[in-house]
Protein backbone atom coordinates (compact mmCIF):
# COMPACT_ATOMS: atom_id res chain seq x y z
CA UNK A 1 0.00 0.00 0.00
CA UNK A 2 1.54 3.24 -1.08
CA UNK A 3 1.39 6.15 1.26
CA UNK A 4 1.58 9.65 -0.04
CA UNK A 5 3.50 12.42 1.64
CA UNK A 6 0.37 13.91 3.13
CA UNK A 7 -0.51 10.69 4.82
CA UNK A 8 3.00 10.21 6.17
CA UNK A 9 3.05 13.70 7.60
CA UNK A 10 -0.31 13.22 9.19
CA UNK A 11 0.81 9.94 10.72
CA UNK A 12 3.92 11.57 12.10
CA UNK A 13 1.96 14.29 13.85
CA UNK A 14 -0.79 11.94 14.95
CA UNK A 15 1.55 9.41 16.50
CA UNK A 16 3.56 12.14 18.17
CA UNK A 17 0.48 13.80 19.55
CA UNK A 18 -0.91 10.54 20.91
CA UNK A 19 2.45 9.68 22.45
CA UNK A 20 2.65 13.03 24.18
CA UNK A 21 -0.93 12.70 25.33
CA UNK A 22 -0.19 9.25 26.75
CA UNK A 23 2.78 10.63 28.62
CA UNK A 24 0.55 13.36 30.03
CA UNK A 25 -1.72 10.66 31.37
CA UNK A 26 1.05 8.57 32.85
CA UNK A 27 3.09 11.40 34.27
CA UNK A 28 0.89 12.15 37.30
CA UNK A 29 1.04 8.47 38.23
CA UNK A 30 4.79 8.48 38.08
CA UNK A 31 4.86 11.58 40.21
CA UNK A 32 2.72 9.83 42.77
CA UNK A 33 4.98 6.80 42.87
CA UNK A 34 8.05 8.97 43.21
CA UNK A 35 6.70 10.86 46.19
CA UNK A 36 5.45 7.69 47.83
CA UNK A 37 8.92 6.20 47.61
CA UNK A 38 10.73 9.26 48.94
CA UNK A 39 12.23 9.98 52.31
CA UNK A 40 10.31 12.55 54.30
CA UNK A 41 13.38 14.76 54.40
CA UNK A 42 13.72 14.78 50.62
CA UNK A 43 10.19 16.07 50.14
CA UNK A 44 11.25 19.62 50.87
CA UNK A 45 13.72 19.58 48.01
CA UNK A 46 11.09 20.43 45.47
CA UNK A 47 10.12 18.47 42.41
CA UNK A 48 11.94 15.27 41.54
CA UNK A 49 11.26 12.96 38.65
CA UNK A 50 12.71 9.92 40.34
CA UNK A 51 13.27 9.47 44.04
CA UNK A 52 16.89 10.06 44.89
CA UNK A 53 16.95 7.55 47.73
CA UNK A 54 14.00 5.27 47.18
CA UNK A 55 12.61 3.88 50.38
CA UNK A 56 9.63 1.84 51.43
CA UNK A 57 9.33 3.83 54.62
CA UNK A 58 5.94 5.33 53.79
CA UNK A 59 4.49 1.98 52.80
CA UNK A 60 5.85 0.28 55.89
CA UNK A 61 4.27 2.94 58.04
CA UNK A 62 0.83 2.67 56.58
CA UNK A 63 0.80 -1.11 56.37
CA UNK A 64 1.53 -1.37 60.04
CA UNK A 65 -1.30 0.96 60.92
CA UNK A 66 -4.52 -0.79 61.76
CA UNK A 67 -6.38 2.46 62.14
CA UNK A 68 -5.29 4.08 58.92
CA UNK A 69 -4.98 1.27 56.45
CA UNK A 70 -5.79 -2.25 57.56
CA UNK A 71 -9.26 -1.72 58.99
CA UNK A 72 -10.57 0.59 56.23
CA UNK A 73 -9.04 -1.66 53.59
CA UNK A 74 -10.78 -4.71 54.96
CA UNK A 75 -14.02 -2.78 55.25
CA UNK A 76 -13.86 -1.76 51.61
CA UNK A 77 -13.03 -5.31 50.60
CA UNK A 78 -16.08 -6.54 52.45
CA UNK A 79 -18.36 -3.94 50.87
CA UNK A 80 -16.95 -4.74 47.43
CA UNK A 81 -17.36 -8.49 47.81
CA UNK A 82 -20.89 -8.40 49.17
CA UNK A 83 -21.86 -5.67 46.74
CA UNK A 84 -20.66 -7.61 43.73
CA UNK A 85 -22.40 -10.79 44.80
CA UNK A 86 -25.64 -8.98 45.45
CA UNK A 87 -25.51 -6.98 42.24
CA UNK A 88 -24.68 -9.97 40.05
CA UNK A 89 -27.32 -12.11 41.70
CA UNK A 90 -30.12 -9.60 41.32
CA UNK A 91 -29.17 -8.33 37.90
CA UNK A 92 -28.51 -11.69 36.28
CA UNK A 93 -31.78 -13.20 37.42
CA UNK A 94 -33.82 -10.18 36.43
CA UNK A 95 -32.06 -9.89 33.08
CA UNK A 96 -33.03 -13.49 32.34
CA UNK A 97 -36.67 -12.56 32.80
CA UNK A 98 -36.25 -9.51 30.60
CA UNK A 99 -34.53 -11.61 27.97
CA UNK A 100 -37.65 -13.61 27.16
CA UNK A 101 -38.98 -11.64 24.23
CA UNK A 102 -42.66 -12.43 24.27
CA UNK A 103 -43.37 -12.77 27.95
CA UNK A 104 -46.81 -11.58 28.93
CA UNK A 105 -46.56 -8.37 30.90
CA UNK A 106 -42.95 -7.73 29.89
CA UNK A 107 -43.84 -4.34 28.49
CA UNK A 108 -45.42 -3.34 31.77
CA UNK A 109 -42.35 -4.42 33.65
CA UNK A 110 -40.11 -2.44 31.34
CA UNK A 111 -42.18 0.72 31.73
CA UNK A 112 -42.15 0.11 35.47
CA UNK A 113 -38.36 0.09 35.60
CA UNK A 114 -37.86 2.90 33.13
CA UNK A 115 -39.92 5.53 34.90
CA UNK A 116 -37.47 5.97 37.81
CA UNK A 117 -34.69 6.40 35.27
CA UNK A 118 -36.22 9.70 34.24
CA UNK A 119 -37.22 11.02 37.58
CA UNK A 120 -35.91 10.06 40.97
CA UNK A 121 -36.29 11.05 44.56
CA UNK A 122 -33.02 12.86 44.94
CA UNK A 123 -30.42 12.90 47.66
CA UNK A 124 -32.63 13.78 50.61
CA UNK A 125 -35.56 11.39 50.02
CA UNK A 126 -33.07 8.57 49.45
CA UNK A 127 -31.33 9.43 52.69
CA UNK A 128 -34.63 9.52 54.54
CA UNK A 129 -35.55 6.12 53.12
CA UNK A 130 -32.31 4.56 54.30
CA UNK A 131 -32.83 6.16 57.66
CA UNK A 132 -36.39 4.86 57.94
CA UNK A 133 -35.20 1.38 57.00
CA UNK A 134 -32.77 1.54 59.90
CA UNK A 135 -29.79 1.10 57.58
CA UNK A 136 -27.80 4.15 58.60
CA UNK A 137 -24.26 3.22 59.58
CA UNK A 138 -24.58 -0.24 58.04
CA UNK A 139 -22.89 -1.65 54.99
CA UNK A 140 -26.28 -2.54 53.51
CA UNK A 141 -26.76 1.12 52.76
CA UNK A 142 -23.71 0.93 50.53
CA UNK A 143 -24.52 -2.29 48.73
CA UNK A 144 -28.27 -2.63 48.27
CA UNK A 145 -29.37 0.72 46.81
CA UNK A 146 -26.89 0.43 43.98
CA UNK A 147 -27.41 -3.24 43.26
CA UNK A 148 -29.38 -2.89 40.03
CA UNK A 149 -28.43 -0.59 37.21
CA UNK A 150 -30.47 -0.22 34.07
CA UNK A 151 -27.41 -0.26 31.83
CA UNK A 152 -26.16 -3.53 33.26
CA UNK A 153 -29.57 -5.10 32.90
CA UNK A 154 -29.53 -4.24 29.21
CA UNK A 155 -26.04 -5.64 28.72
CA UNK A 156 -26.82 -8.95 30.37
CA UNK A 157 -30.20 -9.18 28.69
CA UNK A 158 -28.75 -8.59 25.24
CA UNK A 159 -26.09 -11.16 25.83
CA UNK A 160 -28.68 -13.70 26.95
CA UNK A 161 -30.83 -12.95 23.95
CA UNK A 162 -27.93 -13.83 21.71
CA UNK A 163 -28.00 -17.36 23.05
CA UNK A 164 -29.96 -19.39 20.51
CA UNK A 165 -33.49 -20.25 21.58
CA UNK A 166 -33.01 -23.71 20.16
CA UNK A 167 -30.86 -24.65 23.12
CA UNK A 168 -33.58 -23.90 25.64
CA UNK A 169 -36.25 -25.33 23.40
CA UNK A 170 -34.59 -28.66 22.96
CA UNK A 171 -33.94 -28.80 26.68
CA UNK A 172 -37.63 -28.22 27.30
CA UNK A 173 -38.55 -30.97 24.90
CA UNK A 174 -36.24 -33.23 26.85
CA UNK A 175 -38.27 -32.46 29.92
CA UNK A 176 -36.00 -29.92 31.62
CA UNK A 177 -37.71 -27.65 34.10
CA UNK A 178 -37.42 -23.88 33.70
CA UNK A 179 -35.04 -23.43 36.61
CA UNK A 180 -32.81 -26.13 35.20
CA UNK A 181 -32.62 -24.29 31.91
CA UNK A 182 -31.49 -21.15 33.70
CA UNK A 183 -28.96 -22.84 35.93
CA UNK A 184 -27.55 -25.44 33.58
CA UNK A 185 -27.69 -23.74 30.20
CA UNK A 186 -28.10 -19.99 30.28
CA UNK A 187 -25.92 -19.04 33.23
CA UNK A 188 -22.93 -21.16 32.24
CA UNK A 189 -23.11 -19.66 28.76
CA UNK A 190 -23.41 -16.16 30.21
CA UNK A 191 -20.26 -16.36 32.28
CA UNK A 192 -18.36 -13.90 30.02
CA UNK A 193 -20.86 -11.09 30.51
CA UNK A 194 -21.35 -11.89 34.18
CA UNK A 195 -17.61 -11.76 34.75
CA UNK A 196 -17.31 -8.48 32.87
CA UNK A 197 -20.16 -6.88 34.79
CA UNK A 198 -18.77 -8.30 38.02
CA UNK A 199 -15.45 -6.58 37.40
CA UNK A 200 -17.08 -3.27 36.64
CA UNK A 201 -19.29 -3.52 39.70
CA UNK A 202 -16.29 -4.43 41.82
CA UNK A 203 -14.39 -1.36 40.70
CA UNK A 204 -17.48 0.74 41.31
CA UNK A 205 -18.00 -0.55 44.82
CA UNK A 206 -14.32 -0.17 45.72
CA UNK A 207 -14.34 3.42 44.49
CA UNK A 208 -17.56 4.34 46.25
CA UNK A 209 -17.06 7.48 48.27
CA UNK A 210 -19.99 9.79 48.82
CA UNK A 211 -22.41 7.10 49.96
CA UNK A 212 -19.90 6.04 52.59
CA UNK A 213 -19.55 9.63 53.74
CA UNK A 214 -23.32 9.98 53.85
CA UNK A 215 -24.25 6.79 55.63
CA UNK A 216 -21.30 5.77 57.81
CA UNK A 217 -20.28 7.65 60.91
CA UNK A 218 -18.52 5.11 63.08
CA UNK A 219 -14.75 5.55 62.66
CA UNK A 220 -13.96 1.85 62.62
CA UNK A 221 -16.52 1.23 59.90
CA UNK A 222 -15.21 3.80 57.47
CA UNK A 223 -14.22 2.55 54.07
CA UNK A 224 -10.85 3.08 52.47
CA UNK A 225 -11.76 5.96 50.16
CA UNK A 226 -13.22 7.93 53.05
CA UNK A 227 -10.12 7.49 55.19
CA UNK A 228 -7.94 8.26 52.20
CA UNK A 229 -9.64 11.55 51.56
CA UNK A 230 -9.52 12.56 55.21
CA UNK A 231 -5.79 11.96 55.18
CA UNK A 232 -5.16 13.80 51.93
CA UNK A 233 -7.21 16.84 52.74
CA UNK A 234 -7.05 17.31 56.41
CA UNK A 235 -3.51 16.12 57.08
CA UNK A 236 -4.82 14.45 60.17
CA UNK A 237 -2.46 12.90 62.58
CA UNK A 238 -3.01 9.20 62.97
CA UNK A 239 -4.95 9.89 66.08
CA UNK A 240 -4.97 7.45 68.90
CA UNK A 241 -2.42 5.14 67.40
CA UNK A 242 0.63 7.29 67.11
CA UNK A 243 1.75 10.85 67.11
CA UNK A 244 3.14 10.54 63.61
CA UNK A 245 2.36 13.33 61.25
CA UNK A 246 0.89 12.50 57.89
CA UNK A 247 3.43 13.67 55.36
CA UNK A 248 3.22 13.78 51.58
CA UNK A 249 4.91 10.45 51.04
CA UNK A 250 2.43 8.76 53.34
CA UNK A 251 -0.45 10.46 51.55
CA UNK A 252 0.81 9.24 48.20
CA UNK A 253 1.44 5.73 49.47
CA UNK A 254 -2.13 5.60 50.69
CA UNK A 255 -3.38 6.94 47.36
CA UNK A 256 -1.46 4.21 45.60
CA UNK A 257 -3.10 1.60 47.79
CA UNK A 258 -6.41 3.21 46.90
CA UNK A 259 -5.65 2.45 43.25
CA UNK A 260 -4.19 -0.96 43.78
CA UNK A 261 -7.29 -3.15 43.45
CA UNK A 262 -8.24 -1.28 40.29
CA UNK A 263 -4.75 -1.70 38.84
CA UNK A 264 -4.88 -5.41 39.57
CA UNK A 265 -8.32 -5.81 38.02
CA UNK A 266 -7.43 -3.61 35.06
CA UNK A 267 -5.81 -6.23 32.77
CA UNK A 268 -8.92 -8.38 33.13
CA UNK A 269 -11.13 -5.41 32.36
CA UNK A 270 -9.01 -4.69 29.30
CA UNK A 271 -9.43 -8.24 28.11
CA UNK A 272 -13.17 -7.75 27.96
CA UNK A 273 -12.80 -4.62 25.95
CA UNK A 274 -10.75 -6.31 23.29
CA UNK A 275 -13.27 -9.11 23.24
CA UNK A 276 -15.80 -6.48 22.36
CA UNK A 277 -18.37 -7.69 24.81
CA UNK A 278 -19.40 -4.30 26.02
CA UNK A 279 -19.09 -2.85 22.57
CA UNK A 280 -21.17 -5.51 20.93
CA UNK A 281 -23.94 -5.05 23.43
CA UNK A 282 -24.14 -1.36 22.71
CA UNK A 283 -25.62 -2.34 19.39
CA UNK A 284 -28.64 -3.71 21.20
Amino acid sequence: MQQNVGRKTFNFFNYTFLAIYSIAIIFPFMNLLTISLSHTANLRQGFQLFPSNPTLHAYKTIFSSKHMLIQPFLNSMYVTATGVVMALFMQTLFAYVLAKKDLLGLNMIIIYIMIPWFFGGGMIPNYLLIKNLGLINTYWALTIPGAISFGNLLLIRNFMRSIPDSLSESARLDGAKEYEILLKIIIPLSVPIIAAIGLFEGVGYWNQYFNAVLYLYEPKKLTFQVVLRNIIVESETLGKESQMEVTENIKMAMTFVGMLPVLIAYPFVQKHFTKGIIVGSIKG
Partner: protein
Protein backbone atom coordinates in the same frame (compact mmCIF):
# COMPACT_ATOMS: atom_id res chain seq x y z
CA UNK B 1 -50.70 -33.36 26.96
CA UNK B 2 -47.91 -30.92 27.63
CA UNK B 3 -48.76 -27.56 29.00
CA UNK B 4 -47.42 -25.76 25.93
CA UNK B 5 -49.74 -27.74 23.71
CA UNK B 6 -52.63 -26.91 25.99
CA UNK B 7 -51.75 -23.24 25.81
CA UNK B 8 -51.90 -23.31 22.05
CA UNK B 9 -55.28 -25.02 22.25
CA UNK B 10 -56.96 -22.52 24.51
CA UNK B 11 -55.47 -19.46 22.83
CA UNK B 12 -58.84 -17.91 22.31
CA UNK B 13 -60.17 -18.26 25.81
CA UNK B 14 -58.45 -15.12 27.04
CA UNK B 15 -58.91 -15.47 30.79
CA UNK B 16 -58.14 -19.15 30.95
CA UNK B 17 -55.18 -18.67 28.63
CA UNK B 18 -53.76 -15.99 30.90
CA UNK B 19 -54.13 -18.13 34.02
CA UNK B 20 -52.48 -21.15 32.42
CA UNK B 21 -49.78 -18.94 30.91
CA UNK B 22 -48.93 -17.39 34.24
CA UNK B 23 -48.70 -20.83 35.77
CA UNK B 24 -46.64 -22.21 32.93
CA UNK B 25 -44.09 -19.39 33.22
CA UNK B 26 -44.37 -19.02 37.00
CA UNK B 27 -40.63 -19.48 37.40
CA UNK B 28 -39.89 -16.33 35.43
CA UNK B 29 -42.48 -14.28 37.23
CA UNK B 30 -41.15 -15.44 40.59
CA UNK B 31 -37.65 -14.60 39.45
CA UNK B 32 -38.74 -11.06 38.70
CA UNK B 33 -40.26 -10.50 42.13
CA UNK B 34 -37.05 -9.56 44.04
CA UNK B 35 -36.14 -6.98 41.43
CA UNK B 36 -39.65 -5.55 41.31
CA UNK B 37 -39.70 -5.25 45.08
CA UNK B 38 -36.24 -3.70 44.98
CA UNK B 39 -37.39 -1.10 42.47
CA UNK B 40 -40.41 -0.33 44.58
CA UNK B 41 -38.39 0.19 47.75
CA UNK B 42 -35.36 1.96 46.38
CA UNK B 43 -36.75 3.82 43.39
CA UNK B 44 -40.43 4.46 43.97
CA UNK B 45 -40.54 5.03 47.73
CA UNK B 46 -38.05 7.92 47.53
CA UNK B 47 -40.35 9.56 44.98
CA UNK B 48 -42.99 9.54 47.69
CA UNK B 49 -40.49 11.30 49.97
CA UNK B 50 -40.60 14.27 47.63
CA UNK B 51 -43.65 15.43 49.53
CA UNK B 52 -41.31 16.81 52.19
CA UNK B 53 -40.36 19.54 49.75
CA UNK B 54 -43.67 21.14 50.61
CA UNK B 55 -43.23 20.89 54.37
CA UNK B 56 -41.21 22.61 57.05
CA UNK B 57 -39.46 19.39 58.06
CA UNK B 58 -36.28 20.33 59.86
CA UNK B 59 -37.28 23.86 60.65
CA UNK B 60 -40.12 23.19 63.06
CA UNK B 61 -40.75 20.52 65.68
CA UNK B 62 -44.05 19.55 64.11
CA UNK B 63 -44.05 18.81 60.38
CA UNK B 64 -46.72 20.69 58.50
CA UNK B 65 -47.31 21.62 54.89
CA UNK B 66 -46.23 25.05 53.81
CA UNK B 67 -46.97 24.90 50.14
CA UNK B 68 -44.33 26.46 47.91
CA UNK B 69 -42.62 28.49 50.63
CA UNK B 70 -39.40 26.48 50.34
CA UNK B 71 -39.27 27.18 46.64
CA UNK B 72 -39.89 30.89 47.20
CA UNK B 73 -37.08 30.85 49.68
CA UNK B 74 -34.35 29.45 47.51
CA UNK B 75 -35.49 31.20 44.37
CA UNK B 76 -35.02 34.54 46.11
CA UNK B 77 -31.80 33.57 47.88
CA UNK B 78 -28.76 35.17 46.22
CA UNK B 79 -26.64 32.27 47.54
CA UNK B 80 -28.73 29.85 45.56
CA UNK B 81 -28.56 31.87 42.39
CA UNK B 82 -24.79 31.76 42.75
CA UNK B 83 -24.87 28.02 43.32
CA UNK B 84 -27.07 27.49 40.28
CA UNK B 85 -24.81 29.58 38.08
CA UNK B 86 -21.72 27.76 39.33
CA UNK B 87 -23.30 24.45 38.40
CA UNK B 88 -24.28 25.60 34.94
CA UNK B 89 -20.94 27.28 34.26
CA UNK B 90 -18.77 24.37 35.33
CA UNK B 91 -20.87 21.83 33.47
CA UNK B 92 -21.09 23.89 30.30
CA UNK B 93 -17.33 24.44 30.31
CA UNK B 94 -16.87 20.72 30.68
CA UNK B 95 -19.14 19.98 27.75
CA UNK B 96 -17.71 22.70 25.52
CA UNK B 97 -14.16 21.51 26.04
CA UNK B 98 -14.38 17.80 26.48
CA UNK B 99 -17.19 16.87 24.10
CA UNK B 100 -15.50 17.86 20.83
CA UNK B 101 -12.09 16.84 22.17
CA UNK B 102 -13.29 13.32 22.83
CA UNK B 103 -14.62 12.99 19.31
CA UNK B 104 -11.41 14.34 17.80
CA UNK B 105 -9.36 12.01 19.96
CA UNK B 106 -11.47 9.09 18.81
CA UNK B 107 -11.02 10.09 15.17
CA UNK B 108 -7.25 10.37 15.64
CA UNK B 109 -7.07 7.03 17.37
CA UNK B 110 -9.08 5.52 14.58
CA UNK B 111 -6.44 6.62 12.08
CA UNK B 112 -3.67 4.75 13.82
CA UNK B 113 -2.57 1.84 11.70
CA UNK B 114 0.00 0.14 13.92
CA UNK B 115 -2.11 -2.07 16.16
CA UNK B 116 0.43 -2.33 18.97
CA UNK B 117 0.71 1.42 19.27
CA UNK B 118 -3.06 1.81 19.23
CA UNK B 119 -3.56 -0.88 21.85
CA UNK B 120 -0.92 0.59 24.14
CA UNK B 121 -2.28 4.11 23.90
CA UNK B 122 -5.80 2.87 24.56
CA UNK B 123 -4.69 0.92 27.62
CA UNK B 124 -3.08 4.03 29.02
CA UNK B 125 -5.96 6.35 28.17
CA UNK B 126 -8.69 4.19 29.65
CA UNK B 127 -7.07 3.75 33.05
CA UNK B 128 -7.95 7.05 34.79
CA UNK B 129 -11.64 6.39 34.21
CA UNK B 130 -11.53 3.47 36.63
CA UNK B 131 -10.02 5.39 39.52
CA UNK B 132 -12.09 7.02 42.22
CA UNK B 133 -12.26 10.79 42.45
CA UNK B 134 -10.57 10.54 45.83
CA UNK B 135 -7.54 8.88 44.28
CA UNK B 136 -7.54 11.38 41.43
CA UNK B 137 -7.72 14.21 43.93
CA UNK B 138 -4.70 12.74 45.67
CA UNK B 139 -2.81 12.60 42.37
CA UNK B 140 -3.81 16.08 41.23
CA UNK B 141 -3.27 17.80 44.57
CA UNK B 142 0.21 16.35 44.46
CA UNK B 143 0.80 17.38 40.85
CA UNK B 144 -0.15 20.98 41.53
CA UNK B 145 1.40 21.19 44.97
CA UNK B 146 3.20 24.47 45.59
CA UNK B 147 6.14 22.83 47.27
CA UNK B 148 6.99 19.73 45.26
CA UNK B 149 4.53 19.59 42.42
CA UNK B 150 5.71 19.30 38.86
CA UNK B 151 3.66 22.19 37.52
CA UNK B 152 4.94 24.70 40.05
CA UNK B 153 8.48 23.45 39.51
CA UNK B 154 8.05 24.29 35.84
CA UNK B 155 6.68 27.71 36.73
CA UNK B 156 9.62 28.42 38.97
CA UNK B 157 12.04 27.39 36.23
CA UNK B 158 10.56 30.14 34.11
CA UNK B 159 11.06 32.55 36.96
CA UNK B 160 7.49 32.69 38.23
CA UNK B 161 5.99 32.52 41.66
CA UNK B 162 4.43 29.28 42.83
CA UNK B 163 0.67 29.13 42.49
CA UNK B 164 -1.50 27.65 45.20
CA UNK B 165 -3.77 26.16 42.56
CA UNK B 166 -6.44 24.48 44.56
CA UNK B 167 -7.32 27.38 46.79
CA UNK B 168 -7.48 29.97 44.03
CA UNK B 169 -11.00 30.79 42.92
CA UNK B 170 -9.79 31.75 39.48
CA UNK B 171 -8.26 28.36 38.83
CA UNK B 172 -10.92 26.09 40.25
CA UNK B 173 -13.24 25.85 37.28
CA UNK B 174 -10.41 25.20 34.83
CA UNK B 175 -8.89 22.57 37.07
CA UNK B 176 -12.20 20.77 37.37
CA UNK B 177 -12.55 20.72 33.59
CA UNK B 178 -8.94 19.56 33.11
CA UNK B 179 -9.07 16.82 35.71
CA UNK B 180 -12.41 15.73 34.32
CA UNK B 181 -10.92 15.43 30.86
CA UNK B 182 -7.87 13.59 32.20
CA UNK B 183 -10.16 11.07 33.81
CA UNK B 184 -12.84 10.50 31.22
CA UNK B 185 -11.72 11.58 27.79
CA UNK B 186 -9.88 8.36 26.99
CA UNK B 187 -12.72 6.11 28.03
CA UNK B 188 -15.18 8.36 26.26
CA UNK B 189 -13.63 7.44 22.94
CA UNK B 190 -14.73 3.84 23.24
CA UNK B 191 -18.24 4.39 22.13
CA UNK B 192 -17.11 6.41 19.09
CA UNK B 193 -14.45 3.90 18.16
CA UNK B 194 -17.06 1.16 18.29
CA UNK B 195 -19.28 3.07 15.91
CA UNK B 196 -16.33 3.88 13.66
CA UNK B 197 -15.31 0.26 13.44
CA UNK B 198 -18.74 -0.51 12.09
CA UNK B 199 -18.57 2.16 9.43
CA UNK B 200 -19.27 0.82 6.00
CA UNK B 201 -15.97 0.19 4.25
CA UNK B 202 -17.80 0.24 0.96
CA UNK B 203 -18.56 3.90 1.43
CA UNK B 204 -14.90 4.64 2.03
CA UNK B 205 -13.86 2.73 -1.06
CA UNK B 206 -16.41 4.35 -3.32
CA UNK B 207 -15.51 7.80 -2.04
CA UNK B 208 -11.86 7.08 -2.75
CA UNK B 209 -12.80 6.15 -6.30
CA UNK B 210 -14.55 9.50 -6.56
CA UNK B 211 -11.26 11.09 -5.62
CA UNK B 212 -11.88 12.07 -2.04
CA UNK B 213 -8.83 12.59 0.11
CA UNK B 214 -8.74 11.59 3.74
CA UNK B 215 -10.13 14.86 5.01
CA UNK B 216 -13.16 14.78 2.73
CA UNK B 217 -13.65 11.15 3.61
CA UNK B 218 -13.72 12.09 7.25
CA UNK B 219 -16.31 14.77 6.66
CA UNK B 220 -18.58 12.81 4.33
CA UNK B 221 -18.21 9.25 5.56
CA UNK B 222 -16.77 9.10 9.06
CA UNK B 223 -18.74 11.81 10.77
CA UNK B 224 -22.13 10.75 9.41
CA UNK B 225 -21.32 7.23 10.59
CA UNK B 226 -21.02 8.39 14.16
CA UNK B 227 -23.71 11.04 14.03
CA UNK B 228 -26.27 8.96 15.97
CA UNK B 229 -23.77 8.25 18.74
CA UNK B 230 -22.74 11.87 18.93
CA UNK B 231 -26.34 12.99 19.27
CA UNK B 232 -27.19 10.41 21.93
CA UNK B 233 -24.06 11.13 23.93
CA UNK B 234 -24.70 14.83 23.69
CA UNK B 235 -28.28 14.53 24.89
CA UNK B 236 -27.14 12.50 27.86
CA UNK B 237 -24.29 14.87 28.71
CA UNK B 238 -26.33 17.99 28.34
CA UNK B 239 -29.26 16.82 30.40
CA UNK B 240 -26.88 15.94 33.20
CA UNK B 241 -25.42 19.42 33.57
CA UNK B 242 -27.09 20.09 36.88
CA UNK B 243 -25.91 16.82 38.38
CA UNK B 244 -22.18 17.30 38.66
CA UNK B 245 -21.27 16.35 42.17
CA UNK B 246 -18.69 13.89 43.43
CA UNK B 247 -15.83 15.48 41.56
CA UNK B 248 -16.64 18.87 43.07
CA UNK B 249 -17.24 17.40 46.51
CA UNK B 250 -13.78 15.91 46.57
CA UNK B 251 -11.92 18.99 45.34
CA UNK B 252 -13.93 21.65 47.17
CA UNK B 253 -12.58 23.64 50.08
CA UNK B 254 -13.62 26.74 51.98
CA UNK B 255 -11.42 29.10 50.01
CA UNK B 256 -13.06 28.32 46.69
CA UNK B 257 -16.57 27.71 47.94
CA UNK B 258 -17.93 30.75 46.14
CA UNK B 259 -17.19 29.28 42.73
CA UNK B 260 -17.23 25.63 43.68
CA UNK B 261 -20.58 25.12 45.39
CA UNK B 262 -22.95 23.31 43.07
CA UNK B 263 -26.58 22.33 43.49
CA UNK B 264 -25.90 18.90 44.94
CA UNK B 265 -23.21 20.05 47.35
CA UNK B 266 -25.59 22.79 48.43
CA UNK B 267 -28.36 20.21 48.92
CA UNK B 268 -25.98 18.12 50.99
CA UNK B 269 -24.95 21.09 53.08
CA UNK B 270 -28.49 22.27 53.76
CA UNK B 271 -30.27 18.94 54.02
CA UNK B 272 -27.81 16.61 55.70
CA UNK B 273 -25.47 18.85 57.60
CA UNK B 274 -27.94 21.53 58.58
CA UNK B 275 -30.94 19.22 58.70
CA UNK B 276 -33.09 21.73 56.82
CA UNK B 277 -34.76 18.75 55.21
CA UNK B 278 -37.86 20.28 53.63
CA UNK B 279 -35.84 23.05 52.02
CA UNK B 280 -33.17 20.73 50.68
CA UNK B 281 -35.78 18.36 49.29
CA UNK B 282 -37.35 21.29 47.48
CA UNK B 283 -33.98 22.19 45.94
CA UNK B 284 -33.52 18.56 44.87
CA UNK B 285 -37.00 18.46 43.32
CA UNK B 286 -36.31 21.68 41.47
CA UNK B 287 -33.12 20.19 40.06
CA UNK B 288 -34.81 16.94 39.02
CA UNK B 289 -37.66 18.69 37.26
CA UNK B 290 -35.33 20.95 35.33
CA UNK B 291 -33.14 17.98 34.40
CA UNK B 292 -36.19 16.14 33.12
CA UNK B 293 -37.10 19.16 31.04
CA UNK B 294 -33.59 19.27 29.67
CA UNK B 295 -33.78 15.65 28.58
CA UNK B 296 -37.10 16.14 26.82
CA UNK B 297 -36.22 19.43 25.18
CA UNK B 298 -32.76 18.37 24.08
CA UNK B 299 -34.19 15.16 22.70
CA UNK B 300 -36.90 17.00 20.77
CA UNK B 301 -34.42 19.53 19.41
CA UNK B 302 -32.06 16.79 18.36
CA UNK B 303 -34.84 15.00 16.55
CA UNK B 304 -35.85 18.19 14.80
CA UNK B 305 -32.38 19.25 13.75
CA UNK B 306 -30.67 15.98 13.00
CA UNK B 307 -33.39 13.36 12.83
CA UNK B 308 -31.55 11.42 15.51
CA UNK B 309 -32.64 11.21 19.11
CA UNK B 310 -32.44 9.21 22.27
CA UNK B 311 -36.10 8.24 22.10
Amino acid sequence: MTIDKKLRQIKNEKLRYTMVYLYRWRFLYLLAVPAIVWYFIFKYLPIYGIKYAFTNYGKAPKISYIGFKNFERFLTLPDFTNVFMNTVKISLYQIIFSFPSTIILALLLNEVEKKIFKRTVQTILYLPHFLSWVVIAGIWFNLLSPSHGAVNALIKVFGGEQIYFWIEKGWFRSLIVLSGMWKNMGYGTIIYLAALSRADTELYDSSKVDGANRLRQTWHVTLPAIKPIIVITFIMSFSGILSIFEQIFVFMNNMVKEVAEVIDTYTYQMGIKKMDVGFATAVGLFKNVISLFLVLITNALAKWVTEESLF
